[in-house]
Symmetry: C2
Subunit: 159 residues, 2 copies
DNA sequence: GCTTAGTTACTCGGATAAAAAGTGTCCGAGTCAGAAAGG
DNA sequence: CCTTTCTGACTCGGACACTTTTTATCCGAGTAACTAAGC
């Protein structure tokens, strides 16, 4: 799985803590974790395309959350970065074997594909069941200073 | 996820159906699905290293199952091919952020990492809960001719 | 003072390059089966 | 006929290319704010 998922999740949380109506540039979000600016920008673009963030060009531009955190699931972010296709993609090798038919969709009928899909659905179900709001709530419960610290760090950022 | 997982799973099932005490070569297993022989051999080697198959060199050599199918889970095969590391690997970017400490293991304490791990555990749990014996039983229930067809195909294989 | 046009600096966005992982191939080391020779 | 040696072919196993994906970078198009000029 791409490293960008981790960056995206953390950046979304940061965006929620500094929310002031102002947009946050990719450069500032990258500076927070010393990440390569241009590459994080690429990930944020993916989030924007997926409708999780909105982007604004020009001075005072940047990214901001497109909707409240409780409307953004972990699944949404993972799909935005990784794409929608499944990890185990059945290549239908049964079709090449004896008795294989070109007219059968083995992605549906192959028992192995079904078993792998069941596991992947369990994974997706867990991801879809947790919103970023849940994550933020847990973080704030364990580290109450995080919102203020984050906000003030971005406020005091130079250059 | 690597394509080799699909090849490995199907090949293990085939091995169980033709089990006669004889070993099966990578070339024959590859011919069954018209797969590239040398590359399938590579995957089978991984299964052998993981203790799922045993390999024999020389004439009459090849691969055979190292233990009964009901002792082989989908998780075992996936781990053998893909490796044991998690799909979402926390790079601990919190360490590079303000307030980050070099002495904290953020793979454990980071709430995001925990949430992603929970999802991955659900996936692993599903995979570990299904043995190849379960798969075979289901296949034989839906396609009763499979064992005989497979066995006779390998028996009649030329060259 | 207010409006308006022009300029400038800033930001995203996609095009481009480098690195890594995945995919595929080839040849050699070891080994076992079978043939051949000897008893 | 049985045993033993030798040969030879067969198989895995790892080393070596090629392709695709991931990671990272760089500039240009567009935009909004600021400046300054005109009313």
């Amino acid at each position: 799985m791409s490293e960008g998922v981790e960056w995206a999740l953390h950046s979304c949380l940061n965006l929620s803590w500094i929310e002031t109506g102002e947009a946050m540039t990719a450069a500032k979000l990258a500076a927070f974790y010393s990440l390569p600016t241009a590459y994080l920008n690429k990930q944020l673009q993916s989030l924007a395309k997926a409708g999780i963030l909105t982007s604004t060009s020009g001075p005072r531009g940047g990214f901001r959350l497109a909707r409240p955190l409780d409307k953004i699931t972990l699944m949404d972010v993972v799909t935005a970065i990784e794409g929608a296709e499944e990890a185990f993609r059945c290549e239908q090798i049964l079709r090449e074997g004896p008795g294989g038919s070109p007219h059968v969709d083995y992605r549906e009928s192959c028992v192995i594909a079904q078993a792998m899909r069941r596991a992947e659905l369990a994974w997706r179900h867990e991801l879809a069941g947790q919103t970023l709001a849940d994550i933020r709530k847990t973080v704030e419960g364990r580290f109450p200073g995080t919102p203020d610290n984050t906000r003030s760090w971005f406020a005091n950022l130079r250059t």
